[in-house]
């Protein structure tokens, strides 16, 4: 047997040794340490490589081939062992104990929107979809805009019903959003179609009345606008807000700035018209959600519109009441106490 074969056998033996040695390796480092003893710089296989000079030149090429092949095999064995260890580790990790997934998630909390403002938005979204633009006006208003231009008469019970907070004889906190109508019509020629949300104030304070509350008002003025159109728009509006099958009825009423005027009733949201024993609609099957009417000619006269040429309608709703109905809130005062335990629920 020539030297080349002797070295060749030795190479095979080293590779076999490596293979069996790696079986016992339990970590990547261990694998590398054991491999280094054979294929490292000072390893036995590396040492054998140096003996290439001892073989005859014509065999050197063959030996070089055998050495490279042995090294490649050794590399494969190491890689395979490392892969096996990784697989083992992955298997152990996957089979490990579950996390305590009942621990809370890391907090990422979005804040809440106030229930009244949420309802305000919903109502405005519906009105905007019907072509109304959102307008606003001051909360501190003159009696002229708040009352007289709207056809309220001084010393009339309708004026006194809206018991007001005054700042001066002729300046008060607006008692309704209707002065926005006047401001809009004074500053824009027809056609007018606005939705006016706003904070309003009346001098009342009990379980069902807050001295501050919210209204939304709609106004549409153009040529040839009729009561029939008002019924149509209100029906569309109410159904967008309260659901597509909500019954709507208008019932005659009185406001100084509209005529004919009406209350807007919708089918009771709580008992859905079953009536009996319903405390919310008091057994009537109907809930009053707002008022409406054809703009009174006196209002048109006061803003310089020709009442023979233009007509229109206005309607308004109390947002607080709708929010209370929607969320089942019994006491209006909760709305403005800002108890964090209350606010976080919305």
């Amino acid at each position: 047997m020539g030297l080349i074969d002797e070295i060749g056998e030795r190479l095979d033996a080293l590779v076999r040794d490596l293979e069996s040695s790696l079986q016992g390796a339990r970590s990547d480092d261990d694998v590398r340490a054991r491999a280094a003893r054979i294929v490292g710089k000072k390893g036995e296989l590396t040492a054998l490589e140096k003996r290439i000079r001892e073989v005859p030149p014509e065999d050197r090429r063959e030996l070089g081939r055998r050495i490279n092949e042995a090294k490649a095999r050794a590399d494969r064995i190491v890689e395979a062992r490392l892969a096996a260890l990784r697989a083992e580790a992955r298997r152990r990790e996957l089979e490990g104990p579950a996390l305590d997934v009942t621990l809370p998630g890391r907090p990422r909390r979005i804040g809440s929107l106030h229930p009244v403002r949420q309802c305000e938005e919903e109502l405005l979204d519906a009105l905007q979809a019907l072509g109304f633009e959102v307008a606003d006006g001051p909360e501190i208003e003159t009696t002229a805009f708040n009352f007289w231009k709207l056809g309220f008469a001084p010393d009339h019970p309708a004026t006194c019903m809206q018991d007001s907070f005054y700042l001066r004889d002729d300046v008060l906190l607006r008692t309704h959003t209707s002065p926005i109508q006047v401001r809009e019509m004074l500053s824009h020629p027809p056609p007018v179609r606005i939705a006016a949300p706003g904070t309003v104030y009346r001098r009342d304070d009990d379980v069902t009345h807050s001295p501050m509350f919210h209204q939304i008002e709609g106004l549409l003025v153009d040529e040839d606008v009729t009561f029939a159109d008002m019924k149509g728009i209100l029906t569309l509006f109410v159904r967008r807000v309260f659901g597509p099958d909500t019954p709507v009825r208008l019932r005659p009423s009185y406001f100084p700035f509209t005529e004919p005027s009406g209350e807007i009733d919708i089918g009771c949201l709580i008992c859905s018209g079953r009536k009996v024993g319903c405390r919310v609609c008091k057994g009537t099957g109907w809930l009053e959600v707002g008022g409406c009417g054809m703009v009174h000619p006196v209002v048109f006269e006061n803003v310089g519109y020709d009442p023979e040429r233009f007509s229109g309608f206005a309607f308004g709703m109390g947002v607080d009441r709708i929010a209370m109905l929607r969320f089942g809130i019994g006491d209006i005062r909760l709305l403005y106490e800002n108890d964090v335990r209350f606010l976080r629920q919305f």
Partner: protein
């Protein structure tokens, strides 16, 4: 307004189920808010005839009454002092009857009548008071039935013993509770509602005719009393009648019951008659004791400045020259249309009565009633308009009833001072207008018929109608009012529903979308939305050391809510204090709302300066995970302030310490900052001043941001796309020891200056003080990213650049690399 269905039925002769009646009225705008049933549930309570009455042998206060129940005689023990002599009629509850006892204060639940012994005598039934039966207020004695005129019954078959009481006394009735709009003064009496009902059910309306009173032929009324009206504008009509030789007594049961069920306390025959006429015609009356009127003479005049009088509720009233008075020869005896005076009140010994039936100008009555805080049945009606031409009917009716019930006689004649009679109005109604308003054609004959049923007279004038409106409907004064009458009587359901196309005008800039966005951004940043009252206590503003520019309310509900807020912080901090009280530690709140900064100049578009602000407050621990976190501080607020402004404007704002600390006195001076965007101050951020925290009991640090949304709305950051980088960035970390006085902004400035446009970003990722760091120093760890837009930076290039940067930090800031 309470309306008796029985009374209504007798006035209209229309007999429909009460629910149908209520529904029809409601659909015509006379809202029936509730229907109450009265006089029900009195089963086994019958008319009893007293046969005898003798004292109880053992108990002083009890009597033993033998009562005929129609079939047998029962022995009943009774404690009342007013058992009538035989054959007096009483309300007898038989064994098993349920006595509701509703009229008795402090008693709850029915009493079931059973045989019971009282000191040895067995009582077989119970004789009841009206309060026990819930049919009257009187709990003093038992109910003694009368003949309808207040006398003991004689042979009245309706009071035969054994008859169910409810049937004998016509107790069962429905009360319609009307929620009237203020224009419908005409429905404040039963005849007005009766006319409305007749119109709704298409029947002709016949007003009641008074029966003529019994006359005494002594002297005519105008020989006995004179009337002078000095202010005919405030008192267009003053009429009076007199009834003499009468006896004051309790009213008969039917009258007491009618008043009781309609919510008025029965007093005596004379007073009850004035109230009955009020309820029937809606016409307030006043009865004076004629013998207590000086003169006797009536003068209707304005009060003199500082004049006073005592009203019959016993309260002394301070009057002004805007108040109208009824006076006698000596002084005021009533505040016209509001309340009578104590001096001329009807009493038990009154023999001669002067009945006032007048018409007062509504606005004057309202001003007086409001100024005095006196809202009475009378003022309520005069304010809403009473028919000036209904006066004679009501007065005659009252006089007639008083002569009957008081067994008196009316003086012949009538005083009626009515210098300028108020005539009915005639209005023109164009049928075309009717269909133009309602949106569908309305038959002109139908319109005319509706108006006639409402009491109008209608005459054709070509295509148009001339409509004469009765003076009871002072609310109908223009054509549109007639349109409404026709529309509501037809019913709104008769009007079709149409879906119009909406014509739009040119767009107008509106503030709403911006406000909306601000609220949604703040909520997205984890804050809960609060809404606080716009009025606060002046002490709240003081606590925040806010300048005293607040607008005060003239008539606040309380001191707590008496001035308009100039800042959103007081409201939000109240919520923080509230959260502390209920042991809620973590508070993150915002509010978007108006603040009120003083009066505008005369001629401005709005009376006051109103600005839209957003504010947020944070208190309690920072968000943490499975550990106790530190309390929020300035930097939490700063982070939110920047994100809010960036989101709203597209521009990152700059936050700088406020140089004039006095301008933000509610903030801690160490971190009181203003927020600037596009060279405008748009808000402020900081921690509340410790004094503020202490005075408001906030219990710990509170970090706040205030943003002027009106100002932010004008900051226009153009959102432009920046091309994505095509070449990689290189990061280098630096650890640097610097003096405490070196600020983060200094580092940014120096690094920026020495690296030029190759600097991409600087991230400060650690600030360390403590072990191994000398006092007065701090160790900063920075990560600096470099990038070139047009090439990949080489290692050599970055090394050299970074060395320059380090050199800059060492030279300019005295930093020592670590």
């Amino acid at each position: 307004m309470r309306i008796s269905a029985n009374w209504l039925r007798s006035l209209t002769q229309i007999d429909v189920p009460v629910d149908e009646l209520a529904e029809r009225l409601t659909r015509a705008g006379v809202e029936v808010e509730a229907v109450e049933r009265v006089g029900e549930g009195l089963d086994r309570i019958v008319v009893g005839a007293v046969k005898s009455c003798r004292p109880h042998p053992e108990r002083d206060k009890l009597v033993i009454v033998e009562v005929d129940d129609g079939t047998a005689t029962r022995t009943v023990v009774c404690g009342a002092p007013n058992v009538p002599r035989p054959p007096g009629r009483v309300a007898l509850a038989l064994e098993g009857a349920r006595v509701p006892r509703r009229g008795l204060p402090g008693v709850v639940g029915d009493l079931v009548v059973a045989r019971r012994r009282f000191a040895g005598i067995e009582s077989d039934g119970m004789i009841c008071s009206e309060a026990e039966l819930g049919i009257g207020p009187d709990a003093e004695g038992i109910l003694v039935l009368d003949d309808g005129a207040g006398k003991p019954p004689t042979q009245d078959p309706s009071l035969a013993p054994g008859q169910p009481l409810a049937q004998a006394l016509h107790l069962v009735d429905h009360i319609l509770v009307l929620g009237l709009t203020p224009n419908r003064g005409d429905c404040l009496g039963h005849t007005g509602v009766a006319r409305e009902v007749s119109a709704l059910f298409g029947r002709p309306w016949v007003p009641p005719e008074p029966s003529a009173p019994q006359r005494a032929d002594v002297r005519r009324i105008d020989e006995v009393v004179s009337v002078a009206v000095e202010d005919a504008e405030r008192c267009p009509r003053y009429a009076a009648a007199a009834v003499v030789s009468l006896t004051i007594a309790p009213s008969p049961f039917w009258l007491r019951y009618r008043l009781f069920t309609l919510g008025i306390r029965p007093i005596s025959n004379v007073v009850d008659v004035t109230n009955l006429v009020l309820l029937e015609f809606g016409q307030p009356l006043h009865a004076f004791d004629l013998d207590r009127l000086a003169g006797p003479r009536i003068v209707v005049r304005r009060a003199r400045p500082a004049e006073t009088m005592q009203t019959l509720d016993g309260i002394g009233r301070q009057l002004t020259d805007d108040d109208l008075l009824i006076c006698d020869a000596q002084g005021p005896v009533a505040i016209a249309g509001v309340m009578g005076g104590a001096g001329s009140e009807i009493g038990p010994s009154t023999k001669r009565v002067l009945i006032e039936c007048a018409h007062f100008e509504p606005r004057g009555i309202l001003r007086t009633a409001r100024r005095l805080g006196l809202h009475t049945d009378s003022s309520h009606r005069f304010e809403r308009g009473v028919d000036p031409n209904g006066v004679p009917l009501a007065l005659a009716h009252a006089a007639s009833l008083m002569t009957w019930l008081g067994e008196g006689a009316a003086l012949p004649g009538l005083i009626d001072v009515y210098p300028r009679p108020i005539a009915p109005r005639t209005l023109r109604l164009r049928p075309g207008r009717l269909s133009k308003v309602l949106g569908s054609p309305v038959d002109s004959t139908q319109a005319a018929s509706i108006l006639e049923r409402l009491g109008c007279t209608v005459a054709s004038r070509g295509d148009d109608l001339d409509v004469t409106v009765p003076t009871s409907r002072s609310d109908i004064s223009r054509e549109i009012d007639l349109v409404e009458e026709v529309a509501r009587v037809r019913g709104y359901e008769a009007i079709p529903t149409r879906y119009p196309s909406i014509r739009t005008g040119p767009p107008t800039p509106r503030a709403y979308p911006f406000r909306q966005r601000a609220r949604h951004t703040l909520a997205a940043l984890g804050l809960d939305e609060a809404v606080s009252y716009s009025f606060v206590s002046p002490r709240d503003l003081e606590a925040f050391r806010l300048p005293p520019v607040a607008l005060p309310l003239s008539n606040p509900l309380s001191e707590e809510r008496s001035v308009m807020r100039t800042s959103l912080l007081p409201g939000l901090c109240r919520a923080v204090a509230r959260a502390r009280r209920v042991r809620e530690e973590r508070v993150r709140l915002f509010e978007v709302g108006r603040v009120f900064l003083g009066w505008e100049k005369p001629g401005a578009a709005t009376p006051a300066r109103e600005k839209l602000w957003a504010a947020l407050v944070m208190a309690g621990p920072r968000d943490a995970y499975l550990e106790r976190a530190a309390e929020v501080d300035f930097f939490d607020a700063k982070g939110l302030a920047i994100e809010l402004c960036r989101d709203l404007t597209g521009v990152a704002p700059s936050i700088r310490l406020c140089s004039e600390v006095d301008r933000l006195p509610w903030l801690h001076p160490r971190s009181a900052c203003v927020i600037e965007a596009a060279q405008k101050v748009v808000g402020r951020v900081g921690e509340l001043h410790p004094d503020v925290i202490e005075s408001l009991d906030l219990g710990g640090p509170v970090a706040v941001v205030e943003a002027d949304l009106d100002a932010l709305r004008t900051v226009r950051g153009e959102r432009r796309f920046a091309p994505l980088p095509r070449f990689p960035a290189v990061s280098r970390d630096v650890a640097l020891l610097v003096d405490e006085s070196v600020r983060a902004a200094d580092i940014t400035r120096v690094v920026g200056a020495s690296s030029g446009e190759l600097l991409e970003s600087i991230e400060l990722f650690d600030v360390y003080r403590g072990e191994q760091i000398p006092p007065g120093k701090k160790s900063l760890a920075l990560s600096i990213r470099y990038r070139a837009a047009d090439r990949t930076l080489t290692d050599a290039e970055v090394d050299s650049l970074h060395a320059t940067v380090l050199g800059g930090l060492v030279d300019d800031l005295g930093g020592q690399p670590r």
